[in-house]
């Protein structure tokens, strides 16, 4: 049975994972774009991303667009699985007990 993942459970980190995974299985999202969409500050987003990258849930790639340095973020396979398990665990919590075990 999937368990609550303490790393992903923090609301900002949950939103980061949701945003990265909703962009597509093969997608990577620019740091500044993600910051704007989630309404975070640089520092706040950076610290949460550190936690997610340490857990190998998110991968950060630095690149140059023209002369401008850009950081692209993508969810790893481990991150995807952890997020899906976490969402299932949350759904199990809100599901009435009858629905999960089929008993009256």
């Amino acid at each position: 049975m999937p368990q609550i993942d303490e790393i992903i459970h923090q609301p900002v980190r949950l939103k980061i994972m949701a945003a990265l995974l909703a962009s597509g299985a093969d997608a990577e999202v620019e740091f500044t774009f993600l910051r704007g969409r989630l309404g975070c500050t640089d520092g706040n987003l950076g610290s949460h991303l550190d936690k997610l990258t340490s857990a190998r849930y998110v991968c950060a790639r630095k690149a140059f667009v023209g002369r401008k340095p850009v950081t692209y973020l993508s969810a790893t396979r481990t991150g995807r699985r952890a997020f899906e398990d976490h969402v299932t665990a949350l759904q199990d919590i809100i599901r009435p007990p009858d629905a999960s075990n089929g008993q009256l």
Binding site: A18, A19, A22, D26, V29
Partner: protein, 193 residues
């Protein structure tokens, strides 16, 4: 870790909101400029076909070539903040789909609708709009379903009014269909900002 049902519900709600925001942004940024381009092509090519009916083949060959090249370019450029690691695969699939679909459409038009007739105009427009609605249903893009249905209705109304005047029907399709595509494209592009 103790999580109350209300907390779980709120978190899932936030997750859904963020996911929808990202999906829509990505879609709108890709599709908006393409619709603007095709709206302009319709606005130019349909009335030109009415003015120069004998040159309609050339007019649409050039219009479609500009449309396809521009769509490929716009799909490539619009993807700066959310990038696909294998964009060429996706882009070429989309372009191949439309190229094959239009090739079939041209052949069916040759079989069923005489060139230059009002029937031919409405046939090709409704065929393309059928693709919009089908893509909208398969990819869960509500705006594509509305756009496809709306332009199909405009084509049907135009056919009802001007079926004996193909040149007027061409102008009707250029203005109503072209402006609808253009307005939708502008709306999506602004929403994606």
């Amino acid at each position: 870790m103790d999580v109350t049902p209300q907390e779980a519900k709120d978190l899932l709600g936030q997750t859904d909101t963020v996911a929808a925001l990202m999906r829509n942004h990505s879609l709108y940024r890709r599709i908006g400029p393409t619709l603007i381009l095709w709206g302009i092509i319709w606005l130019v090519c349909f009335p030109l076909t009415a003015l120069l009916p004998t040159q309609s083949g050339w007019i649409w060959l050039i219009g479609d070539a500009i449309g396809f090249t521009g769509s490929a370019f716009s799909m490539r450029r619009s993807n700066t903040s959310v990038r696909c690691k294998s964009p060429n695969v996706v882009r070429s699939r989309v372009l191949w789909f439309w190229a094959i679909f239009l090739a079939y459409g041209c052949y069916w038009m040759y079989l069923f609708a005489p060139a230059g007739s009002a029937r031919a105009v409405v046939f090709i427009v409704t065929l393309v709009m059928f693709a919009y609605v089908a893509i909208g249903l398969l990819a869960r893009m509500t705006f594509m379903i509305w756009l496809g249905t709306g332009v199909t209705l405009l084509a049907m109304i135009g056919f009802g009014l001007f079926q004996n005047q193909p040149h007027v029907l061409n102008v009707w399709m250029g203005v109503t269909g072209g402006l609808t595509l253009l307005a939708t494209g502008i709306f999506l592009t602004v929403r994606a900002r």
